[in-house]
Amino acid sequence: MSQVNDFAFKIATVNGTGSASANTLLMTSIFRMGIPVTGKNIFPSNIQGLPTWYEIRVSGDGWNARRAQIDLVVAMNPETYKKDIASVTAGGYLIYDSSWPLPADLVREDITILGVPCGKMCVEAFERDRDRVLLRNIVYAGAVAALLDIDMNVVDELLKETYGRKPKLLDANHTAVRLGYDYTRANLQCPLPIRLERLDKTKDCILIDGNTAFGLGAVFAGATVGGWYPITPSTAMMDAFANFCKKYRTTPDGEKNYIVIQAEDELAAAGIVIGANWAGARAFTSTSGPGISLMQEFIGLAYYAEIPSVFVNVQRTGPSTGMPTRTQQADLFSCAYASHGDTKHICLYPSDPKELFDMAPVAFDLAERFQTPVFVLSDLDIGMNDWMVPKFTWNDGYVPDRGNMLTADDVEKLGKWGRYQDTGGGIPSRTLPGSGGKGAYFTRGSGHNLNAAYTEDSAEYRAVVDRIALKFTTAAGEVPRAVIEKAPGGSDIGIIAIGSTNGAVREAIDRLAKQGVSCDYCRIRAFPFGADVVEFLESHEKVFVVEQNRDAQLRSMIGIETGTPFSKMISVLDYGGLPLVPRVVVDAVVAQMAGVQQ
């Protein structure tokens, strides 16, 4: 069985022992060989000591979903040997550290077990304890390079780029990688049937995670204020924003054209974002589900007082603390309908880091145009994993849409002005504090009329909230449209999905087509749902709604918001906390179709 450029391998290590650099080295080497590659880090909520895995999928065809079958496991953590050995697909391979014997009861006959004495070689080659632990990872990287036929020139080049300024480190890493590589070449049959061959499919691509992508996008979109509270898996986003600002927004005198404020909690983070937007800055926060829970009160204020604000939710698994280092799409309700009273919010559903970058200016534009909170729903998979995506580009002709913002002169010309009067499509006009003239008004979360004056009058209250509802309807026509991919000749079966499951769903559709089941695909990119989504729902007899939560939140929202009969929407739910694998979708569709035929 030869699987050139089409396999997946998994590295099992202990958290906090330095395996990340070895895993990145392997993944980047493959990427530099021009072969499409994806990495999924499956890590514990822990700083040091618990098991951690890194899955790398190689796909010459460019599929980027997580793969169910693992063809090779690099088992470097004896604690998880049992689980790791069991996870190798039949006919696959296992590498273990043969410095210590593998327990006989774990040996499987249907896989090939390969021993590389990584630990022993490190003890012989390196003096310091710390080097022996850290460099053991580089040794297995060398072994994997030999087995998969990774170009060692690429590996050397990468090591040089990483450690070029630290000759001692470079030397040690170089020695370690060679130890693994040379031992494996000398003692094991190399390469394996699962192996790599150079391609030319990655030259216009980058490897990047979503948190970095949005942090960068926010810099380009003109955000100047970040208010946040650290929370996994979103923390790296504000760090990225601050780092890019440091790089691009520091004056020659060392002064900052930005401010990032680490708040005392998520409530304050939301307050900082709303206060800054109220004063006229583009401000955002990065958080995760628990943070969104804490921000609910402030979100209602921003909604009702009509203050732009951008909330990025890098979703993680579960209610309460849940599983902070696992992924899910389970905050669809808590964002779309955040806060008490009648509220509905614009939500964006990016599918990968590239789209997250592209959606940064879109999120700020929508927030300011509609003077309302906008949620960007990333997830741990997009946020923290490295994705191979096309290089980002920026349109230098972009002008921020600041919405209907009036100066003192504008207000003077109008003669009579009311902050919450409809100026078209339900959208009001606003002035900024400090603008002067007759544009001063009182912002309040309490009942107010179209002129921003306090009210407890039913008709006046309704006039404002009905206009806000109209604004939401208008937004349905201005949010990013769904991405619709039709099967050749079209199909009666539709599949709807959002966000990070895109790769798995597209691959599932490809496999289904090969099995004779053709499906059309609609990837929803925003809430409120546009006419294109409604049209897709209406034009398909049966629609599978794929989402990563237990309660079919997307399906419910579609039913509630579009009136689509629930009976025609079949849920495909995957909520164990790991990135979706295509098989889940294929199996669900096939099972349903089989049932129908009976």
């Binding site: 002064e255 401010i259 304050a268 900082i272 800055a281 400090g434 306090y454």
Partner: protein, 352 residues
């Protein structure tokens, strides 16, 4: 919050400030608080202070949370933007607004419920960040809008209107602000405008977070015999440690206002002079530790220490600490903020 528009009557004889505004130009909507409410006196003192300081009304922003005190932002300076937000969250909102536009004069008005219970964390952290703002805590020891529950500033033994004594120890916001490193801490009394106005002016001119605890009695729920936040009790137990005279930058110091033996001067950020007279011989409002122990000692004797409790000029407010550009962030043109595609393409090479 609740507000009734005032008739725009002009009195030609009213004095004008340097901007040509009369005090009426600094007024807001009609108060809907109870007749005799201490908060209305604070509002009047604020109008006086802003007028005397020649602040262009539109260059101020009035921030508040929820409660009787928080309503008062509607009752002065109707030409300023105001923000009546959510309970206990005014400090973070003001932090954000100040982050975006550092050129405005921010005045946050809060109460003992808003600042010492639901918003205690936000109050503390605004001090830590040293947000440039004047923070007033209109302190009456009671929840008025929900009809008379004790607040976290109620003294042990102080009785409710129904006669029940408070049993939990109070939080003294001035002592808290001192321990958190606030660089301007004062206490005043809404019943003494002459005392309050100079402190407000000094607080508005302070470089950094200026905190004033203002005992402001609730006539409906906490002005009875047995209350330690009533007009009577405050008048009888007030000990003025360091009354303040504030001399703005542009006003000449006349002989009458000139130095005298018991007066100490502090030059403020903009060159204005803050003068205070130490009434207690051993009191020094520039010594944080001594100030805190003196205020605590007063409190243990059942006295209400008022005046300028502590001042420290020359500190670094939030933007100075951050090294933000002098120009407000909201005024930076987009071209200065967006690095552009050429630099993006250079960056992309690092992700290969």
């Amino acid at each position: 919050m609740t507000s009734i528009a005032k008739p725009p009557v002009r009195h030609p004889s009213l004095g004008k400030n340097a901007l040509g505004f009369t005090r009426r130009d600094y007024e807001g909507a009609m108060s809907t608080l109870c007749a005799g409410c201490g908060h209305d006196s604070v509002t009047a003192a604020l109008i006086q202070a802003f007028w005397e300081l020649d602040v262009p009304p539109h260059r101020a922003a009035k921030m508040s949370g929820i409660g009787c005190s928080s309503k008062t932002t509607a009752y002065f300076m109707k030409q300023s933007h105001g923000f009546n937000s959510v309970h206990g969250r005014m400090p973070s909102l003001t932090t954000g607004a100040n982050a975006a536009n550092r050129d405005l004069m921010y005045i946050g008005i809060s109460g003992d419920g808003d600042s010492l219970s639901i918003g205690l964390g936000q109050f503390c952290h605004a001090i830590r960040r040293n947000v440039q703002m004047l923070y007033l805590l209109e302190n009456n020891g009671v929840y008025g809008l929900t009809k008379g529950q004790f607040s976290a500033s109620a003294d042990v033994g102080s009785t409710s209107k129904k006669g029940e004594p408070n049993i939990q120890k109070p939080i003294d916001p001035a002592l808290l602000a001192l321990s958190l490193g606030a660089t301007f801490v004062a206490r005043s009394f809404s019943g003494d405008k002459a005392h309050l106005v100079p402190i407000l002016k000094a607080g508005l001119k302070h470089n950094g977070f200026a905190f004033i605890d203002i005992i402001s009695p609730c006539v409906s729920f906490n002005d009875h015999e047995g209350s330690t936040k009533s007009y009577k009790h405050t008048r009888e137990h007030e000990v003025d440690l360091a009354p303040v005279d504030f001399v703005p930058l542009r006003r000449e110091i006349t002989a009458k206002q000139g130095p005298d033996a018991g007066v100490t001067s502090v030059t403020m950020h903009d060159g204005s002079i803050l003068r205070f007279r130490k009434t207690a011989r051993e009191y020094d409002p520039t010594d944080r530790g001594a100030a805190a122990s003196h205020v605590r000692a007063c409190s243990e004797r059942g006295e209400v220490a008022t005046g300028l409790l502590y001042v420290e000029e020359g500190g670094e407010e939030m933007h100075a600490l951050n090294r933000t550009v002098a120009k407000p962030l909201v005024e930076l043109p987009f071209e200065e903020l967006c690095p552009g595609n050429a630099r993006l393409q250079e960056l992309m090479a690092e992700y290969r």
